[in-house]
Amino acid sequence: MTLVAVREDGPSLIDGYRASVGDGPLRALEALARRLRGHRVVMVNATATGGGVAEILHRLVRLMNELGVPTTWEVIPGDPRFYGITKTIHNTLHGWPGTLTEDDQAYFHEVNRRGAQALALDGDLVLIHDPQPAGLVLHRRQSRQHWVWRCHIDLSQAQLAVWDFLAPMVGAYDAAVFSHISFVPPLQVPAYLVPPSIDPLSDKNRELSDEEEAALLAPLQLSQRRPWVTQVSRFDRIKDPLGVIEAFLLTRKREDAQLVLAGGSADDDPEGAAVLAEVQEKAGKRADIAVRMLPPDAHLTINALQRRSTVVVQKSLREGFALTVSEALWKRRAVVASAVGGIPLQVIHERTGLLVRSVQGCSYQMTRLLRSPDLRKRLGAEGREHVRHNFLHPREARDYLAIFARLVEAAGG
């Protein structure tokens, strides 16, 4: 099965978003959707569960359908060899070592060729997410379609050889979309900047009662006595969980606290288990460091963890965007995060959170926040408003619809 079934039960997303962002943004969204009546959208990525992209698509697809723009979501079928290759592509695009052999490249194209036959790519607008299915565009069958490549990855340090492999595919699209200006490589097609977003209505972000929160956290067996410093992320070297532990150990020399490292692993990430083992080894048997592996559907638990945390950390070495930052800000949490990728768009230093560039800086800001409730409150309040205006799903949906409208109208459609 390549078609992802998106849950469409429950209350209307449009009504829920109106309550979160106000009437004005929703009116604009509905007006844009009216301009696209009669057009169909197909979204394609590599996984239906795990990772930020899948989370966004589950809601975006439903929202677009509610708005009257018929939208389907397809997942390119892969196998362990393909996922190994795409993981190498992912890592090397982030600047990490690794090479793609000619065989790897040929297999990547072969899986994309087969995918093009298996997937229902019959929309008027086809939005392809990330490198895994990027080669599908080479097999486009209908000339009147508009194909857009949506890159969620930080390409600023990309290995040239790997980008050179992808570039001819990206050049075959009608437009490309990136999360941040620094991620945009030289391209011959229009490149738009669209930051991703979070869903204020999802289990991961909705309000929780105190009772719900306590019930969700009880199985994790975390200290109730100490304030929590939490990083919620995949166990991935790019998220630097070992650096978080180092920063926390420095902080512990001055403040009492508990570090919580919680996360899971995406379906297409074969390295997750190895990184988790490294983290567990470094944490050792310390009672003040809790490492928790969460299943992909632990959205409510993550929600409760973030809400209960005194400080939320995102000490990534590279980032596409780090949606966990917007999640924490939406919950009015005080955030310490690395100034990489899309994080500075979310964390405006000293206004909506604190930016850091080193283990020492991270430790210093953790300590500062643990000591100052007033600072935490101020940053948290401003952070929530910043997210409300800029990083909720209605804004991202609006940007995609505007790009589609632009492409359709430019083609005389």
Binding site: A28, A31, Y192, E385
Partner: protein, 252 residues
């Protein structure tokens, strides 16, 4: 002659790199000289839309002065650039000239020396405006103000900042009010359009001033009214108050 109903429009700005990068003040000067109107607009005028709650009294909101200040640590040039934006935001030509003059106060040699690390270069962006009618039309001044009260910052930005900037200072929403004979509203809209306040401040000021002007108008009308007219107006006011209290369950 009136122009028919006024349709409120929101706008989506699709942002793209324009292809120019500035690593020092000289490259910034060249970039400003060559930037198209949309790029200049994005980096200078569009700031309030990205931070609608900011007031004009805070840190510079335009990207050029923020970059000179934060990255180059050149506070003097940052102040000059910021002043150019705040003082000459009315038209593309004026603004470009003012920005270039601000940079001309630094010698070319110094402009080249005041450089940023490679990863902190200013990347010039441009924006494509996609107009989105929000489905609300006003037929008179009160309806317009009511519609604006409910509208988001994007609608305010489009009608009071973006349209005037691209139309050399002409404020179409004020022209519409003028065509209805609503000179006071037209004047308020034009003044707020030029004042350079943040969007939320602009909204607060316009609403306050409009209510005050309506109140003054009513007082003047009442003073000129006959005894019967005043009595009738008083009865209508009491009836309105009763309706409001009934509607809110007497809680207000």
């Amino acid at each position: 002659m009136t122009l028919g109903p006024f349709e409120l429009v929101s706008v989506v700005h699709l942002v793209r790199p324009s292809g120019h990068r500035a690593g020092n003040l000289e490259e910034l000067r060249v970039g400003i000289e060559r930037a198209d109107a949309a790029s200049l607009f994005y980096h200078t005028i569009q700031g309030p839309l990205r931070q609608p709650d900011s007031s004009s009294g805070g840190l510079p909101q335009d990207d050029f002065s923020a970059w000179a200040n934060g990255v180059l640590q050149d506070r003097e040039t940052a102040e000059r650039l910021s002043f150019a934006v705040q003082g000459h935001g009315g038209s593309e030509a004026e603004l470009r000239q003012a920005l270039l003059e601000a940079l001309a106060s630094v010698s070319e040699k110094e402009r080249r020396e005041r450089a940023a690390p490679a990863e902190s270069a200013l990347v010039f962006l441009t924006s494509e405006s996609v107009r989105v009618p929000v489905g609300v039309s006003a037929y008179d001044a009160d309806e317009l103000v009511e519609a604006l009260t409910a509208a988001g910052p994007d609608v305010w930005f489009h009608h009071l900042v973006e349209e005037p900037w691209y139309q050399d200072g002409v404020v179409p929403i004020a022209r519409w009010a003028q065509s209805l004979g609503e000179a006071r509203l037209a004047s308020l809209l034009e003044e707020e359009s030029r004042a350079g306040h943040g969007l939320e401040e602009m909204r607060r000021r316009l609403m306050r001033r409009w209510r005050q002007s309506r109140l003054h108008g009513r007082i003047a009308a009442a003073a000129a009214a006959t005894e019967d007219e005043r009595r009738e107006a008083g009865r209508a006011a009491v009836a309105g108050l009763v309706r409001r209290i009934t509607k809110t369950g007497g809680t207000e």
